[in-house]
């Protein structure tokens, strides 16, 4: 059995190597030597010592050394900014891990942190293999303005207006190119952000084996599909040309592509999983299940804020595009106003600021500004932050008290609801100062406050598509995989804590005494930290009893 499996792996690996090394596939610019070369008309006759090059019309020209040096410096600068951005966004994974683990209970801590950690690798593997090719395989220079990266990211020709692109699998062929390498690293970081959003709403009860399938699916299909439609030259990005709706769907750094899509998956996942045992009492009233480490969660929020400057700022793909300073500052403005608004709303409604809600408020502001950050004025960033900070509280309470969906960290409210709001905000607040040529439409991007209702229409269509495709795709995926590996953890494991039964390791094996203080709280269900019983004969009864009592 083991031998047969080994054989299969070897055959697969050999096939892969064969595919990669196929001589028919031309490679891109693997050392960057052709990037930024400025070719000018040559004197006649061409000087003997001059470096020749090919002009656009096919005739021979000479390299303009001074202009080439300037152009190469510019491209290097842009690429450096992009790679710094990629590193910042990848560090956001640490932020997500800290926020989600801190907001969850101690007995599940190593399970929650493992989902946040492994999602990076799982999503990466799938995105590298096929996801990137599906999403950006048809990226033309016109689609999202890749000229600053050396103008060579033109895999598979120009924008396709299609549903799926298909070249650059395993970064082979044309994709083996210095510009594509930088671009890929940046994009894979965004994909991982989407993938890690549902781990929050589904925390404390998501069977790890089912989770593995989500990681691969998200990197291969879930993210690239809608991503291609907006960022890869797909049909939504072409609405400006095809249906005269402004610039088509405009989503600067991914309120929709990243956050709202992740939020939709978070919604379907939490809906299918059902609430954690004990979350709702017999009358269906929500009970508090406080997270076990708020300082850790807040550290995570700051890490996310830090990473967001790369998430939004480097989405210009160019340090030479000075608009990036507007982008990062707008980002900070919305985050600050989101946190402050959430704090005041909570103080007004409940009397105290409620730390975890303030954290959600800042994240909501950041999510909402992600799409419009490059297109709006600072005052609009402020308004967006204020709306987001209030909206997230309304959404958290609505999801919990009306929809009766258990979302331990508020992922649906933060990423789903505010992601959709961010997409709409472009169509409202874009002030016509930036975005000339976006999606191949000339003129700057304007929202309805500045007279372009078409842009608002495109953004509204995007919201509709996100909801239909995001929920539809993820809901069917979770339903389907539930048949292969149950999506919900075993009840007894959930009661005792998933750390030992699913991970084999507790997050805090030595700290049982230290956790004693929380046992005096009236909410028992946050206890059981540490060594609960594994699915032995003991806890099945406990879980069933708990269930019958709390009616969950």
């Amino acid at each position: 059995m083991r031998r047969r499996r080994l054989l299969m792996v070897v055959v697969l690996a050999l096939g892969l190597v064969g595919l990669m090394s196929s001589p028919a596939w031309a490679e891109g610019d693997t050392d960057g030597s052709t990037k930024g070369v400025v070719c000018v008309l040559a004197d006649d006759p061409i000087a003997e010592d001059a470096a020749t090059c090919e002009l656009e019309d096919g005739t021979t020209g000479v390299v303009d050394d001074a202009a080439t040096t300037a152009e190469k410096t510019k491209i290097s600068l842009n690429m450096l900014w992009l790679v710094i951005g990629a590193a910042l966004v990848i560090f956001m994974q640490a932020g997500f891990a800290m926020v989600e683990t801190g907001f969850c209970r101690a007995k599940h801590a190593s399970h929650v942190v493992m989902t946040n950690f492994m999602i990076f690798g799982l999503g990466f593997v799938a995105f590298f293999a096929v996801g990137y090719a599906f999403m950006f395989g048809a990226t033309g220079a016109g689609a999202i303005g890749l000229q600053p990266l050396g103008d060579l990211v033109t895999l598979g020709g120009n924008a396709s207006a299609g549903l799926f692109a298909k070249s650059g699998f395993f970064l082979s062929g044309d994709a083996y190119d210095v510009s594509v390498m930088g671009f890929f690293l940046y994009q894979v970081a965004f994909m991982d952000t989407v993938a890690t959003i549902p781990t929050g709403s589904m925390a404390e009860r998501w069977n790890f084996k089912n989770f593995i399938m989500w990681g691969l699916f998200c990197g291969a299909i879930f993210y690239p599909l809608y991503g291609n439609w907006v960022w890869g030259g797909g049909w939504l990005s072409q609405l400006g040309n095809s249906a005269s709706l402004g610039h088509g769907v405009v989503d600067f750094a991914g309120s929709g592509v990243v956050h709202a899509m992740g939020g939709m998956a978070a919604l379907s996942g939490a809906l299918i999983l059902g609430p954690r045992i004990g979350k709702f009492d017999k009358d269906g009233k929500a009970r508090a299940m406080p997270g076990h480490n708020l300082p850790l969660a807040f550290m995570g929020v700051f890490v996310l804020l830090f990473g967001w400057f790369g998430f939004n700022g480097a989405s210009t793909f160019a340090a030479t595009d000075l608009r990036f300073t507007t982008v990062v500052t707008n980002t900070a403005i919305a985050g600050a106003f989101g946190a402050v608004t959430a704090m005041f709303v909570m103080m007004w409604k409940f009397g105290k600021p409620d730390p975890s809600m303030c954290a959600n408020g800042m994240l909501a502001g950041l999510v909402a500004i992600t799409a419009p950050c490059a297109f709006v004025a600072p005052w609009a960033a402020m308004v967006i932050g204020i709306i987001a900070g209030a909206l997230v509280i309304a959404a958290v309470l609505f999801v919990e008290n009306r929809l009766k969906i258990d979302d331990p960290v508020g992922a649906i409210a933060v990423h789903g609801v505010n992601g959709l709001f961010g997409v709409l905000a472009v169509g409202i607040f874009a002030d016509g100062k930036y975005g000339d040529g976006w999606n191949g439409v000339s003129g700057n991007v304007k929202g309805l406050l500045y007279g372009d209702w078409g842009q608002f229409g495109a953004q509204a269509i995007a919201c509709g598509v996100i909801m239909v495709v995001g929920i539809g795709l993820s809901y069917s995926f979770f339903k389907l995989t539930n048949k292969i590996v149950p999506i919900r953890s075993v009840e007894a494991d959930e009661v005792s804590g998933l750390d030992l039964p699913e991970m084999g390791a507790m997050a805090y094996p030595d700290f049982l005494e230290a956790q004693g203080t929380v046992f005096l709280s009236s909410d028992d269900l946050l206890v059981g930290a540490g060594v609960g019983g594994h699915g032995g004969p003991g806890n099945g009864g406990a879980a069933a009893k708990l269930r019958s009592e709390v009616g969950a």
């Binding site: 009661v495 005792s496 030992l500 084999g504 390791a505 507790m506 049982l512 005494e513 956790q515 004693g516 046992f519 005096l520 009236s522 909410d523 028992d524 269900l525 206890v527 059981g528 930290a529 540490g530 060594v531 609960g532 019983g533 594994h534 032995g536 004969p537 003991g538 806890n539 099945g540 009864g541 406990a542 069933a544 009893k545 708990l546 009592e549």
Partner: protein, 110 residues
Amino acid sequence: MKRVQAVIRPERLDAVQHALAESGFHGFMVHDVRGHGSGEATNTGEYRGVTFAMSVKHKLLVDLLVEDDEVMDVAAVFQSTASTGQPGDGLIFVIDITAVYPITVPVQIS
């Protein structure tokens, strides 16, 4: 006066606490303890490729003082709310108390 000490499963505390309050017992202490019930299953942990048994489990010791004639009532509360019918549910100890002094009032109350 008796001291009733019950070892329970941590996840039963909420039910126990509510039932105690309903029966009129409002004051109690909770100790964080570890132990292993006779016949209770053993957990298996795994750390860096090493599998190990963890027979000692996390339990809570609920501790309260009652009048002699209330002991059976309290015991009944524990038996009805902390029991799952499986090994490892815990035990109830009843101990004689000779004196109790409140911290704030400098007189002996029993």
